[in-house]
C-alpha cells in the first residue's frame, strides 16, 4: 500500500493500478461532499465525481496531470465541472440535504442543546445559501469545510491570495451578521 502522497502521485502517473485505486478510495468521498455542497444534488455530485476521476485518468494516460498537489487538482477539476453544469442548469435547491443527514444515528428525542445547535446550523446553512455570493460561499467551503490553505484555495478558485482573504472576511462578516440577526429574532 502506497501511503506517501508524492509516491502515490508518481505511481499514478505511471498508471499503477494500486495507486489509482488508492487515489479514488481516498478522495472520492471528499470530492462528493464538496460537490454536494456546491450543487445540492446527490446525483449530480456523483456524476461529477465520476467525471473528475475520468479526467484524471485521461490526463495520466497522456502523460499530463498534477505534478505536486493532487488534492487541489481534484477539487479544482470538480469546481470547474460544477461551474460548467451550473451554466446550463441553475440549481436552487437549498443545502439542507446536508443538514438533514445529521439526524441519522442520533437519539430519537434530542436534547435542548442539540435543538439549539441544530437551529443554529440550519440558520448558518440558510445564510450561506441566501446571503453569500458564489465566490464567498465557495471560498468559505474550501477554507473551513474542506480545510484548504489560503494558497490552495487561491489555486482552486483561480484568484490571488489577498483577494481570497478579502472574500473570506466579507463572507464571514455576512454570516456573523445573519446569525446575529437570527439570534436576536429567536
Amino acid at each position: 500500500m502506497i501511503k506517501d502522497g508524492v509516491a502515490l502521485l508518481k505511481a499514478a502517473q505511471k498508471l499503477d493500478e494500486e495507486a489509482l485505486t488508492a487515489i479514488f478510495d481516498e478522495f472520492a468521498p471528499a470530492i462528493y461532499k464538496y460537490t454536494l455542497r456546491l450543487c445540492h444534488d446527490p446525483i449530480v455530485a456523483d456524476n461529477i465525481v465520476g467525471d473528475v476521476f475520468a479526467q484524471l485518468l485521461e490526463q495520466f494516460a497522456q502523460g499530463r496531470g498534477p505534478r505536486t498537489n493532487l488534492r487541489s487538482y481534484l477539487y479544482q477539476t470538480a469546481y470547474h465541472l460544477v461551474v460548467d453544469r451550473s451554466r446550463y442548469n441553475q440549481h436552487t435547491a437549498p443545502l439542507e440535504i446536508a443538514v438533514n443527514m445529521t439526524g441519522k444515528g442520533q437519539s430519537a428525542i434530542p436534547t435542548q442543546t442539540q435543538i439549539e445547535e441544530r437551529v443554529l446550523m440550519e440558520g448558518l446553512v440558510t445564510a450561506m445559501n441566501s446571503e453569500l455570493t458564489e465566490d464567498q460561499r465557495h471560498v468559505i467551503i474550501l477554507r473551513f469545510l474542506e480545510d484548504f490553505s489560503l494558497k490552495e484555495t487561491a489555486e482552486i478558485v483561480g484568484k490571488d491570495v489577498n483577494n481570497i482573504k478579502v472574500i473570506q472576511n466579507r463572507g464571514i462578516a455576512k454570516l456573523r451578521k445573519a446569525l446575529g440577526l437570527q439570534m436576536e429574532d429567536d
Binding site: I2, A11, Q13, K14, L15, D16, E17, E18, A19, L20, T21, F24, D25, A28, P29, Y32, K33, L36, R37, P42, D46, V49, G50, F53, A54, L57, E58, F60, A61, G63, I97, A98, V99, M101, T102, E117, L120, M121, L124, V125, I140, F144, L145, E146, D147, L150, K165, I172, A173, L175, R176, L179, G180
Partner: protein, 220 residues
C-alpha cells in the same frame, strides 16, 4: 490568520457543519468505483504496447512510449524504402512521364517562311493570291469554312538562308480592314486579233459563199 472572537464563533459553527455533512452513499460509491476500475482498464488497453495497467509500479508508461516511438520510426523507414524501390523499378516510365510533361509545356513553334531567291532584294511583295475558301460539309450538317487570308510579305535581306525570321501568326490589321479593293487584279480584256477578225470575216465570207454555194443546193 487572526479572527475576531465573533468571527471565531462563526468558524466554529462552520467546522461543526463540516463534520455533519452527508457522506457518499455506499451503494452509489461502489457503483462509481466499479465504473472507475473499468475506465482504468480501458485506459490501459488504449496504451496498447503497455499491456494495460501496471501492478508492480515499474516504468511501463515510459516503456510504452519508447516502444511506440520505435514502431513509428520503423514504419516510416519501411515506407521510405518501399517508395524508393518502386521508383527504381519504374524509373524508365517515370522518366518518360517527366519528359512528356516537360515536352508538352513547350511554346508552339512557327515555321519560318521559306526564303525565295527572287525576293532577295528589299522590296514589298504583295501576295495577290485570291483567298481560297474551302467548304466542307459533314454528314452531320456541320459546315466548316476554311479561308486563307493573304498577307503582305516583306522580303528583307535574305541572303543568309539561316536568318531567323520572326513571323507573327496573326499580323496586326493596321489600316487593312480586310477589304481588298484595288488589289484584286482586274481581268484583262483580251482584244481580238485582226487576223482572227479577218479569218472570221473570211470564214464568214466563205460561209456565205458556201452558204451561197450551198444555198443553191439548199434551195428547193
Amino acid at each position: 490568520m487572526e479572527l475576531d472572537p465573533e468571527d471565531k464563533k462563526v468558524v466554529d459553527l462552520l467546522s461543526k457543519l463540516k463534520n455533519s455533512n452527508g457522506a457518499y452513499p455506499s451503494d452509489i460509491l461502489a457503483a462509481r468505483r466499479r465504473t472507475y476500475l473499468r475506465q482504468m482498464a480501458n485506459v490501459g488497453l488504449g496504451l496498447g504496447v503497455g499491456a494495460g495497467l501496471n501492478s508492480g509500479g515499474s516504468a511501463g508508461g515510459a516503456t510504452a512510449t519508447i516502444t511506440s516511438k520505435i514502431l513509428e520510426t520503423v514504419l516510416i523507414a519501411a515506407i521510405v524504402i518501399e517508395a524508393g524501390t518502386i521508383a527504381y523499378v519504374y524509373r524508365d516510365k517515370i522518366a518518360d512521364l517527366v519528359r512528356t510533361y516537360i515536352g508538352s509545356s513547350n511554346v508552339q513553334e512557327i515555321a519560318s517562311p521559306s526564303t525565295d531567291s527572287a525576293s532577295s532584294n528589299s522590296e514589298f511583295v504583295v501576295n495577290t493570291e485570291i483567298p481560297s475558301v474551302t467548304v466542307t460539309i459533314t454528314p452531320s450538317g456541320t459546315v466548316t469554312v476554311t479561308s486563307g487570308t493573304p498577307s503582305p510579305e516583306f522580303a528583307g535581306d535574305n541572303n543568309n538562308s539561316d536568318t531567323n525570321v520572326n513571323v507573327n501568326a496573326t499580323p496586326s490589321p493596321g489600316d487593312n480592314n480586310g477589304n481588298q479593293y484595288g488589289l484584286t487584279p482586274k481581268p484583262e480584256r483580251t482584244k481580238e486579233n485582226n487576223t482572227n477578225d479577218k479569218n472570221k470575216d473570211e470564214t464568214n465570207d466563205g460561209g456565205t459563199s458556201n452558204n451561197n454555194s450551198n444555198g443553191n443546193s439548199n434551195k428547193p
